[in-house]
Symmetry: C2
């Protein structure tokens, strides 16, 4: 994409004893508002809840994340600082305590992305 | 998000004998142009190449996809038709033959998403 947006992706699974519905509801009503307090410098904070679909050859998507949370940044320095922080440091206690209500924390994964897009403007 | 955009996500891993660089180069230069021929009705065709980052508790992201390919649709009926097709039918021979040059095809996974976003408009 042409814009200069910097993105951190958090791949996360729910606690196995929590339903998909309860997980999404708790994240939206309780955890996201808490995390927003620590989101200064974040331009967009998006939860992308994954609905597994079957593949005709490989079957149901049973081994994926329940959510991919995206943190977007307009400012490269803020992005780099946040990435350095979350890849090396534990979150504030308040966040970690609430994560325990929601996530299989040992399944947490972090990634950044390089995005390429087809140009359909003349299609 | 407020807009009515419909999205299909394809989680895919590269062939283990291919480097990250060769995978991205081949996908962009050879496979994406081929796939574009079959992308009528797709509003955006985006390859999001994953750069694994370490997590301070769970370590390096070694078990994830190499790319999440996104197919976006403005038209719900086209989206539903495409989803029904790719979750039940094999791709055209030409696509599958080229996929073998690139992917660990048994790692293919398909998902749709429910997206929620924090409102930072008053921040």
């Amino acid at each position: 994409m042409a814009d200069q947006t910097y993105k951190i992706l958090l791949f996360m699974k729910r606690r196995p004893d929590i339903s998909v519905e309860a997980f999404r509801d708790y994240y939206e009503s309780k955890h996201a508002p808490l995390a927003e307090k620590y989101s200064s410098g974040v331009s967009r904070y998006i939860r992308r809840y994954i609905d597994p679909q079957p593949h005709p050859e490989t079957g149901e998507f049973t081994d994926g994340p329940d959510v991919i949370t995206e943190l977007w940044f307009d400012n490269e320095e803020t992005y780099r600082g946040t990435l350095a922080y979350i890849t090396t440091s534990l979150m504030p206690d308040e966040i970690i305590e609430d994560e325990k209500n929601l996530f299989d924390r040992m399944a947490f994964r972090i990634a950044t992305v390089v995005e390429r897009e087809s140009d359909f403007s003349n299609a």
